[in-house]
Each structure stands twice: as C-alpha cells, then as structure tokens.
Symmetry: C2
Subunit: 350 residues, 2 copies
C-alpha cells in the first residue's frame, strides 16, 4: 500500500505530512446525522455493518484524508463482556449494571471477538472491499484503564471517585479486572488485524486522570500487556500501532517505553517539546475547538506553527502525522475541516 | 512570624514540610455546612465577614494546618466589575449577563477593592485579629484568564468554545478584556496585602485548557502583568506569591519565568520531574480523591512517595509545601484529613 500515513508511522520518508482526524466520521457531518437517524440510535449504527461502513466512508468522500478509521465505539468491548450499554441523549454512554464487586468481575464473559463482535469484523471486511486501495484502515480499542473507568463509574465521571476507590483501597481486585479487560482488548485487536485493518490504535482517554505512579501501575502496564499479547499471537505481523493518552504530555518518556510505533498527543503540549521526549512517530495536535470557532487565517497560522515547530525540533518533517489533539467536535464546520486538510498538505510538501 | 510555610515558600530551611489544603474551609466539614446554611447561600457566606472569618478558622481548630486561606470565591471580582453572579445548586457558579461583545467589555467597572470588595478586606482584618500569631494568612485571586473564562462562558464549560472563539477569531478584543481584568486582579491583591495577608496566590484553574502558545499569550502574560503591577505598587513589600495552573505540568519551564516564589502542581506530574523544571518552591501534589476513598495505610504510602521523591530530587526536603493537587472534595473524610496532616508532619521531620 502506497500510504503517506503508514510510511510516516513507520518513520519512513514521506513527500508530505499525512492527516486524519479522530472521530472524523461524526456528528459535524450532516450525512452522518442522517445515517444515524436511519439507524435509530448510536448503538444501532455501531452494530449495523452496512451503515457503519457508510459513515466510515463519508468523510473520505468529502476530504483528502490520508487514513480511515472504522466507525465504532470503545464501549462495545465491555458490552460484549456482559455489561448493558445505553446512550442517553446529552449524558453520553452509560452502563445499567456497572461493576461494583469482585463478583461482578468474576461473571464477566471471556469474549470471542469473531462471534461476540462479529459486526465490527464485518464492518472491517466491508471497508477493505470499499476503501480506495491506498487508503489505510485504522482499527482501535479503548485502553484497559479507560474501559475499566467506564465499567466501574457506569458512565463519564467528574472525579473518578468510584474507580479511584479501587485504585487506593482495593488495587489487587482492580488488577484482576484490568487483566481480564486487557485480554479482551488484545483479542479484539488481533481479530481486527485478521479482518484486515492496517493499523491499530489504543485510546487511553482517561489515563490522564491518574498520578504518574498510578498511571504506570494501572494504565501503562496494561497498554504494554495488550501490545505484548498481540505480538506473541502474531509474531510475523507488521501492523503498526498508535497509543494516545489524553493528558499524557507529562509522561511521554514513560509512554516511549511501549512497543508501539506512534504516540498521540493532545494540544496542551508543545510538539517540539514532545519530540524531545520520545523517538516514536507523533500524532497531533491541533486544538479541536479551532475547527468550530476560527476562520481560515487563524487555522493556517496554527497549522504553520505546529508544522514548523515539529520540523525544527526534528530536523525533518517526517515522523509527524497531523491530527487534532482530541476528537473533532460536533460543532466543527465542514468547510474548516476541508481547509485544514488542504493546508496541511500544501504547507508540508517537501 | 515563625512559620514553616513562609520559610519554605522563601526557600529557607524548615524543620518539617508544612501543609495546607486548597479549599480547606469547605463542604467536607459539618461545621462549614452549618455556617453556610446559616448564611443562606454560598455568596451570602462570602459577603458576610463574620461568617467568612468563622469558616476560615474552622479547619484550623480541627487540624494542625500550617497556613490559613481567607474564605472567599474567585468570582467576586467579576461580580464587582458588574457581572451578576449566582450559584445554582449542582451546576456551580453562573453569570446571568456573560460577556458577549466588546460593548460588554467597555461597560465593565474599574473596581476600587476597598469599597467594592470591602467585605473581603473586612474578613482579612478580622482574621488578622483572630488567627494564632504564627499562622500565616493566604489571600488569593483567580488568574485573569480563568476569570475571563467564567465571564465569557457564563459558568463552567466543557470545551470552552465561547472564549476560544475570542482566542482564535478576536484575540485583540480578548486582550482588552484580559488587560482590564488584570488591573482589577492586581488592585484586589494589593488591597489584600494592605489589609494584612501574608502570602498571595493566583489560581489559574483553567489555564490548562489551552495550547502552550495560547497559554503564553492569554494566561501567562497576564499572570506576569498582575505580579509586575503589584511589585510596582508596593516596591518594598515582602509578601511571597504562589501561582497554580491546573494542568500546567507541561509548562513548568515557562511558569518558572514568573516573578513568584512558589508554583502549585497538580497530581498528574511527578514532583521529582517538576523539581527538575523549576527552581521555585513547589506546592502539591496529592490526588484529592484519596481523602475520600482511601484508608490510612494507602494515604501513608502516597505521602511517603511524594516526600521521598521530592527529597531525593532536591537533595533536601526544603522548598516543598505539601498540598493536594486540586481543591479538597466535599466527600473527603475529616478523619483522613487529620491523618494526612499528622503523617506529613511526622514523616517530614528533619
């Protein structure tokens, strides 16, 4: 596959800086909102391979994106393990039966992704048929820590008091849960690789709520475990991987120890500083809000700054995948998205 | 004043590591809840010098704290400038007339803190009478950026889209606002110094939502401006200052340039790493949740780790003020608070 995204992730030379956007198939696109309405609900959309394929392709029809990412949600894994998932309007995802005891952990199902998450595998197989041949497909999962947060908190949280009660008062029981979730995550990603994804990404969306030592013990350790299990299961595979810990800018030296190819960074860390703390490919890091509120000159100025800071700190523009520092917002203007992608390509031409 | 807190902040030797807790006069204390009820509302409590004095003193009666902090709220400054403030139960502070245009900025009042915030000055004067003579009193203000966030967003915010629209589309108008707020903040802190506070602290609670360059332009610059204005107004004063940017762990080298004595750090950055990035006194950085969910052995273990990491990275335990990484939570257990304070003193004895 002739892909600037894959070349960059493998730290090979590229003739320009590739770009894709986290959550690029999303609510900011009217055609997405229409398909979601047709599906009936967000979860129904995730579980319908034809419609999930359709929304994955939608942003690629509009924009010159350098990668696609399968449309799904990180919470389908805990759901497959036995938790009841629903999406309440305005409040985000919730579990009706969050984990409250070790018994709840004991009864979690060991998943067979080919069966329990067959709809995801079907979406991937569809996409491999329908995507342009040089457009790589990114598969993904939530990190074990992030999934455990949702499984214990029962939804999004302000202070993470429930899971932190396990961190500080019952760590050994939390480790049992994280072990189980790690196996599910690894097996899920292995199945995605078998189904045909070209890259895997781990979203550690809530890793940043921990102290450094707790991050090491409860998130980083299980990111490593997932990556190792995949490597052992598929010793010959050459599927590159990306890890993104939101708020992880202070821990890049630690994240650099992971056996992955790229690290995602949010917009709070200067990319030149990030470059000094890790040798991995870097993915990021424009503030997503800019696509909702700024005009073209401001977007150009921000893009120029990120590209220049990266190039100067790296003595080359290679090894940088442009992205937002977090998922694109529903308020993003599609015209701004189109401009962003074009200006990244134009300004980064070698 | 014989104070381990003041000595440490001035980087002098101390026989133990001093400790106080952000929001130490707060809802976790039953006597606070009682006084607040008596006042009728949170805002009425702030505006009643006798009751504000009372709640400031409450945690000092229970615990061996090394400093007191005047009870107030950062939003009294925008209120004095003309915004209508109210506190809605469960949703936090709100302004009925947030800033939406340059006209709204034009009509903001230039405050005279001795008149417009006389109740704060009276609280400080009361406290200077009532506090034990070796207990320093911390005065404070929100940072200009953080106050501007509330003034434009109208309350707390998820993505800060309103103020970031100014950042990315109308920066020059935002600078006009930040200039006005900086003058108010500086004059407010100058009045607090005249009234008798022993230390001033700037809470940059929302600085961490910015990119590094935007942080420099819209928050750091105005922190510097406030500190400079105070210095020019009171060239002979020896009141030390602390700046706390929540989420600012990635910018410590930049924060180190400020003319302040100490920097607060949240719990996400390792204190040994922070020590390498700045020479200022460091204040922090236990995860506040631990006081709600952990038992004594876990608290002892976390405290030991922070104290050891600091001492080893600094070759001395001096220059460290123990605190939480953010305000104490309403769910904190008073017994845990008492234990924390005692164990910090015990473990840090030189």
């Amino acid at each position: 596959m002739n892909s600037a995204f894959l070349a960059t992730l493998k730290q090979q030379q590229s003739s320009y800086t590739p770009i894709w956007l986290m959550r690029q198939a999303g609510r900011y696109l009217p055609e997405y909102r229409k398909t979601r309405e047709k599906a009936g609900s967000f979860l129904a959309l995730c579980k319908n391979p034809d419609l999930a394929t359709e929304v994955t392709l939608q942003p690629l029809r509009r924009f010159a994106l350098d990668a696609s990412i399968m449309f799904s949600d990180i919470l389908v894994v805990p759901e497959a393990m036995g938790l009841q998932l629903y999406f309440s309007e305005g409040e985000g995802p919730k579990f009706t039966n969050p984990i409250q005891s070790t018994l709840d952990i004991d009864v979690l199902k060991v998943i067979n992704p080919e069966i329990d998450l067959a709809y995801v595998m079907q979406t991937i197989r569809n996409l491999k048929q329908e995507l342009p041949k040089d457009t790589p497909l990114i598969g993904f999962s939530g990190s074990p820590w992030t999934l455990a947060c949702y499984m214990i908190e029962g939804g999004s949280s302000k202070n993470y008091e429930k899971i932190k009660a396990w961190v500080y008062a019952h760590p050994e029981q939390l480790h049992v849960l994280l072990d189980k979730v790690s196996i599910a995550v690894a097996d899920y990603l292995i199945a995605q690789i078998h189904a045909g994804v070209d890259t895997i990404m781990l979203f550690d969306s809530w890793g940043g709520v921990l102290s450094e030592s707790a991050f090491g013990e409860f998130s980083h350790k299980y990111l490593a475990k997932v990556l190792t299990r995949i490597k052992l299961a598929l010793p010959q595979h050459h599927i590159p991987s990306i890890v993104f810990t939101k708020g992880g800018g202070v821990w890049l030296q630690k994240l650099d120890q992971l056996e992955c190819n790229g690290l995602g960074i949010d917009w709070t860390i200067n990319i030149a500083k990030a470059r000094k703390e890790t040798n991995k490919a870097l993915q990021g890091n424009l503030d997503p809000v800019i696509l909702s509120v700024a005009d073209r000159p401001a977007i150009k100025q921000q893009v120029t700054q990120i590209l220049n800071e990266y190039r100067e700190s790296n003595n080359s523009a290679d090894g940088h995948i442009f992205n937002l520092g977090h998922g694109i917002l529903p308020t993003a203007k599609p015209d701004n998205v189109a401009y962003l992608i074009d200006i990244v390509h134009e300004l980064s031409k070698r």
